[in-house]
Subunit: 487 residues, 2 copies
């Protein structure tokens, strides 16, 4: 199969820039219809796409079916966001000569940044790839999108892109609204292209930091929204270990092996009381069945990191072993102590991408609390606690809130809901910005504010006209106002 | 007068980090009270502070009186913002097992980033300095603040800082909530200090870019909100020139000489039809009276940039002349053509900090529209148009919206209202981010989102508890809900 688009990558970026005005000017209902057309085309071609995805990612039919449904659902959710209109953050201040200094007629809203780049991830061939959350939120914001395909699933990427171009054309979107490029060098040039106004990225710390640096070093720096890597600590309190050890072992096993451990939210480090013997309990439950990893590079990376950990002083492999076959891995459980983590935080607290987790035994709550401050920024942090532990849960939640973007009380971090109150991001290195890449607020990454001063109604964007023709929520003279309410 | 604080700068940063938990945990009404105490202490010491400010900045009593009033007003506005509570962006999703994937109980809000650095500006010794908008918005967000004093007004900075420390202590804020440091090297180290989580900066492109690069190159990059430099283009259409030339000349003269041309929103480039003879008209009206600039460095910079412009091919000095006395400057009007600007955009379209403006004559509307795309990012862009120019105003507003953060229809960009719908920011180099440094949304720069999943009510922050004990607006299951409304 050849590339969907034979043009050089720079032509695709130029086409995106050419589409900017029309995409930005399209009405909310037009843009919503484009998003729904993309959702429809994914659903209509589900079986072909899932088969293609499985052949390139080995993630299996069940998982990929769910992921495709999530991907079309999130396109539809962004259609709703566009129609509802709060995402424009429209605000109107009527003149107030008594203010210091006086306030003229001022009207603020968010407008699209312009053409943006989206770097697809390997581990979610639908949800974080060609038509994933970054693309959906950027199109919703009114930004043309150039996707850099992930080399892990090139045929799927091209097929989805071809369907997307066709669906967008059918829904009346301007040519250039969406484009796909391939290859590492083309990606580097995309981040540096003068027309590109922001970058969304999901991938490794090394690759992401390199592109972040390029974006920051441009003559005109642009925002780089990178989701890089995360160890997603889990803390099991003494009370929880006593009350629910069996459930915790079950849940943790399911979570760290889900998707063959290739989730950005995989629980990679688990703190548990020494006498819980959590690692041993887990080790008894893991099977020896190896499952295929995404590709050879991921396999090699998994083996290398496991080797580094297993060879480290004070780290013990309690169950499973490093894979020998390049493409497959069975679960691995490692164990260490708080002292070792405090001695070598950088080595022990780096992400292992694959089905492994490191249990850190702690001897006392004081020891547990001493180690939490050294944890790096993570997408998630999970607490399993019991009632009546004398305010322990409260203190631990405060400490975990410092290092994570999502804090779970019970449950497991894998499986990221796509909703209004979701946040998928966290302190560096888990993300390079304070924004989310999942959920409706992800749209904010692709917008910038603009204010119009003393501008006649007829020259204002509809979102800011006095009569509120779009019928959207607005902040009027400081007060949040629903459509229909008197302003 | 000695420094307000004899401790080494790093101790002050450490103290800010030490205050972080208590500042973050303080209730909205406590934080609001701190801001009001700061406003009160400015007002109560106004005459002493204004005299000190005038002795160091030469900006005059009237201007400084207005600026101090604006500074205390903006502290009080942020107290209102904190009490109203929308700035927390609280959102609640109740569980929905029918969603793909299922939605657990999720609750999102914005929390303070942690200790932040604020670099004071020279040209607004109150409003963009020690207790200016950056400090007000950061304290409102719940972040301890370390201000790097501007060397242009050291005595004022120390006095305001001493009053601030006293007022904060009196209002019950924790020690370390606010600190002042001085000196270039201390500023560099502040941006690199591990405890600092974000930086606000107002100043030159050169200095700002240097600090932006340091912030981006940290092992853990942090947001750098810099307002660097802006030429604030003004476009006068043929219709406006015909209808209102006299008013335009008057208004422009007032605007470009206000504060001796040392405003970040000073109109630096004015496009007018050749036959308007706008430059000549302005030149007739400017006086030869020199007024003192902020300091010798600003004076030298003004002379150098004027010399560069005046010596450039095709640029003519139509009125005024470069100052000889180091500390004073009279207004200067320069003139050139669209062709020259297209030939040397980088030289001709760089900010001149001081009382000078460059009139660019255009021969036709086509020529005008050809030059607009080369304009650099600006804080503001101003259009003077007439009715019945065949959609010209609409097209020009679209073009100016691309390069500016605030678009004015009529009026002048100097004098920046502090309100909800204000936006003070624009494409690079006018700012290094998509955020504003003026108005209530400036608070967003100092916050990050966090989501809590399936967390018991008693362990949630009050903003997210089911009963809405803070009485704040929240998004509940996707719908904006006012306090008191059923969720």
């Amino acid at each position: 199969m050849t590339s969907v688009d034979e043009r050089p990558p720079s032509d695709i970026t130029t086409a995106a820039a050419g589409a900017q005005d029309a995409v930005c000017a399209a009405s909310a209902s037009d843009r919503a219809a484009w998003l729904e057309a993309l959702a429809d085309v994914l659903d209509a071609n589900a079986s072909e796409l899932i088969e293609l995805a499985d052949s390139e990612s080995h993630l299996g039919n069940a998982r990929l079916t769910g992921e495709l449904a999530r991907t079309s659902a999130q396109l539809r959710l962004f259609a709703q966001v566009v129609r509802e209109g709060s995402f424009l953050e429209a605000a109107i201040d009527h003149p107030d000569t008594s203010a210091t200094p006086p306030i003229p007629d001022l009207r603020r809203m968010l407008i699209p940044l312009g053409p943006v780049a989206v770097f697809a991830a390997s581990n979610f061939p639908f949800a974080f790839s060609v038509l994933g959350g970054d693309t959906a939120s950027a199109l919703a914001a009114g930004c043309p999108v150039v996707v850099k395909a992930h080399e892990g699933h090139p045929r799927l990427s091209r097929r989805v892109a071809a369907l997307a171009v066709q669906a967008l054309r059918g829904a009346g979107a301007p040519d250039g609204t969406f484009g796909l490029i391939e290859g590492r060098q083309a990606g580097v040039e995309l981040v540096q292209a003068p027309q590109i106004r922001a970058v969304g990225f999901t991938g490794s710390v090394t690759g992401g930091r390199c592109l972040f640096d390029l974006a920051s070093q441009r003559p005109d720096p642009i925002p780089f929204y990178g989701e890089l890597g995360s160890i997603n600590p889990v803390v099991v309190t003494p009370g929880a270990a006593e009350e629910s050890r069996a459930e915790i072992v079950d849940g943790l096993l399911g979570s760290f092996t889900m998707g063959v451990g290739q989730f950005c939210t995989k629980p990679g480090v688990v703190f548990a009381p020494t006498d819980t013997e959590l690692a041993e309990q887990l080790a008894e439950r893991i099977g020896a069945d190896a499952k295929p990893l995404l590709n050879e590079r991921i396999g090699a990376g998994f083996r290398d990191r496991l080797g580094e950990l297993a060879g480290h002083d004070g780290v013990e492999v309690v169950g499973g072993s490093a894979p020998t076959a390049e493409h497959s891995a069975a679960p691995v459980v490692l164990r260490t102590t708080v002292d070792e983590v405090l001695r070598s935080p950088q080595t022990l607290l780096e992400e292992v991408f694959g089905p492994a987790t490191l249990v850190v035994d702690y001897g006392s709550v004081a020891e547990l609390r001493a180690v939490l401050p050294v944890l790096p920024g993570s997408l998630t942090a999970t607490l399993h606690a019991a009632e009546h532990e004398d305010g322990l849960a409260e203190r631990l939640i405060a400490e975990l809130s410092r290092i994570a973007g999502r804090v779970l009380y019970g449950g497991w971090p894998t499986g990221v809901a796509v909703s209004h109150a979701q946040h998928h991001g966290g302190p560096y290195p888990s993300t390079t910005s304070v924004h989310t890449s999942v959920g409706t607020t992800a749209i904010r990454r692709w917008q910038r504010p603009i204010a119009y001063q003393t501008t006649p109604d007829s020259l204002l964007p509809p979102a800011l006209q006095e009569a509120n023709p779009l019928g959207i929520p607005r902040r009027v003279d400081g007060v949040m106002t629903q459509p229909g309410e008197t302003s």
